[in-house]
Symmetry: none
Subunit: 197 residues, 4 copies
DNA sequence: TATGAATGAGCGTTCATTCAT
DNA sequence: AATGAATGAACGCTCATTCAT
């Protein structure tokens, strides 16, 4: 279980007048997503509150730490990414091809979120929850893909899922017209490939 | 002893009482290097001044912008790295091997400097000078290595030196016992390799 | 009690917990007025915050720029001065007498505010709003008085309201027991007088 | 005697190797005058030192306070202005006309010196010497002119030379295309005029 | 005597975070 | 539960001034 910090919320609307709160959460998340795109995940809390039309206190109530907010904002995409792993694996004969497609999804996700990749590497306190959630959720998926590819001799064994994910994440840091993360990730994956025919 | 690395400081020592200032520059650079390791290259100027036992004004006198300071701190290593390129190329039959060794030097450099790799990707203003210096100095070297390797068919053409350097730099972001940048860079370079035997 | 002069503060008191903030605004304005007397309108923001017993952030929240604060502190007096123009004009047969009385009010206002007259001449950025407010509000009033006096041949035409106001303002700069701005303004106005018998 | 603070220097080149120092003073004064025009009399000391091509210490050695420097820079003009008083008085039948001409000289002087008029009113510590010098030197001259005009019934008695000078000085504060100090000073002097023919 | 390196107080400004309403 | 006012630490930066060389 992720050490996110939000105990309930999300997913199940629960019942009763909670509907109010749930609606509010949605507004908050939408606003945060908006601001994250514009100003990065380090944007001032007040900017997000303003965009959502609420007070800063409301943000803090729902998301005690910045990481909680980031996690909540991207939870759906992370879930989607996690679920895509097994699906891709099931839909092809080549686990390596599945890995490549999965990496592509992951990259898609990261590059469209301004600064998210950077935040994932940040060792500044307050992002542990973010790290924890991403890793808890995605490392097992990546492991499954790697293992499968190793099992059919498509790639050389010895690469850990965690380091591969970090590598991919790192490669997605920064926006630059002269730098295409996807190509570099492709290179990285090619490096995994078993040289044997 | 601080890990500054630059033993002789700058240019001609000039003459006269400048000896005082020159000595101070050393102290400043040592302190900055120290603090950069501890708190990253974004560390408050005050912290550096404090570590050096000087006033903030002294820092500003010697290094008007933060980038000036960072460049000064790492100039020697960058120069060494730049000069190593041609040397390595001359010392081997395989340009790809030379590239690998060069990348290793570059990685050595980056991973020992906490936060430097991150700063290199930072798009925050005030780091342009830093970017400029690194790129001006190292991209040509990297280009030479890549071209040579392409020329002897060791690697697939089409990868730009700039993107390769950024990729390597990115891979070096973050300190983590479970993540070894060197291995990931190795993977990346293997991905460049021409599949033909 | 501070010599702020504004007793009712701002516009509609609005409702709800804003009462708190409104009260605070009063404290802020009183403190600022106090400090302006002591240290001039260039006084450090911190000093004002300290005098008010609040954090600097509170000042910035209410008055984003220094000019905003100055304008707020003196708004009531400026308004009173602006409204006095037509009133005085209506209450006398001699527009020149009205002008003299009006000038007296203006001087009263300026000499009791240490440094305000100076700030009005300051060309330092950040005071544009202050200039704008004073001029927008008072120049038309002064113009009306001048025009009326010219119309009845009490004064020589050709003097612009703006330059007259600046002159009066300038004459009020500085505190000095041996210098009475009022007398000098009186001289200036006498200089406007039509030499006709 | 002015309480300027510089005991020797200036005027008499003195003798011996002092020639060196005298030459240096000239350079300093020229530089200061230059900078005062550009950046006002509040310009950073370092800017003046830089313009003069000397160290800041040298400035401080010669002119311990900023006022000392300002006084020295403008001493010649002040002297000229002081000496013009009696001369003008001697050259005309109308002391009032002389006063007007003298005021014109004074205004000429002040308006060509960016910020000098302002500095003259500044009550910030460190400008006492400046005040003292200007007043010591010019008030008697102004008094002579006023007395003479009163004596021949050209102007109303009762105006003190000090307040008149301050008034004129004040009217010269600020640079503004829509404000002509000379015209306002003319108005002020007209106000002194005895209404009877 | 001249230099200019060094100092550090001080200023404007931002923002995460708390808490009374 | 929501608000947003208040707080104050922290940072970048500028200069007046001192003093070792």
């Amino acid at each position: 279980m992720p050490t996110t910090g939000q105990s309930e919320s999300e997913e199940k609307p629960t019942r009763g007048k909670r509907a109010d709160a749930v609606r509010n959460q949605r507004v908050l998340l939408a606003a945060a997503a908006e601001v994250f795109v514009t100003s990065g995940v380090d944007a001032p809390i007040r900017e997000i509150a303003c965009q959502a039309g609420v007070g800063v206190g409301t943000i803090y109530r729902h998301f005690p730490t910045r990481a909680d907010l980031v996690v909540a904002v991207y939870r759906h995409q992370v879930e989607a990414c996690a679920e895509a792993g097994p699906t891709l694996l099931a839909g092809t004969d080549s686990p390596f091809a599945a890995l490549r497609q999965w990496a592509d999804l992951f990259v898609d996700f990261l590059v469209t979120k301004h600064g998210l990749a950077g935040a994932l590497q940040s060792d500044s306190s307050g992002f542990e929850a973010l790290h924890a959630y991403f890793l808890d959720r995605l490392v097992p998926v990546c492991a499954q893909l790697l293992d499968a590819a190793v099992a059919v001799d498509e790639i050389t064994p010895g690469t850990q899922p965690y380091e591969l994910m970090r590598a991919i994440g790192n490669l997605c840091i920064g926006h630059d017209p002269h730098y295409d993360p996807r190509r570099m990730v492709e290179l990285l994956l090619r490096g995994l490939r078993n040289p044997r025919p």
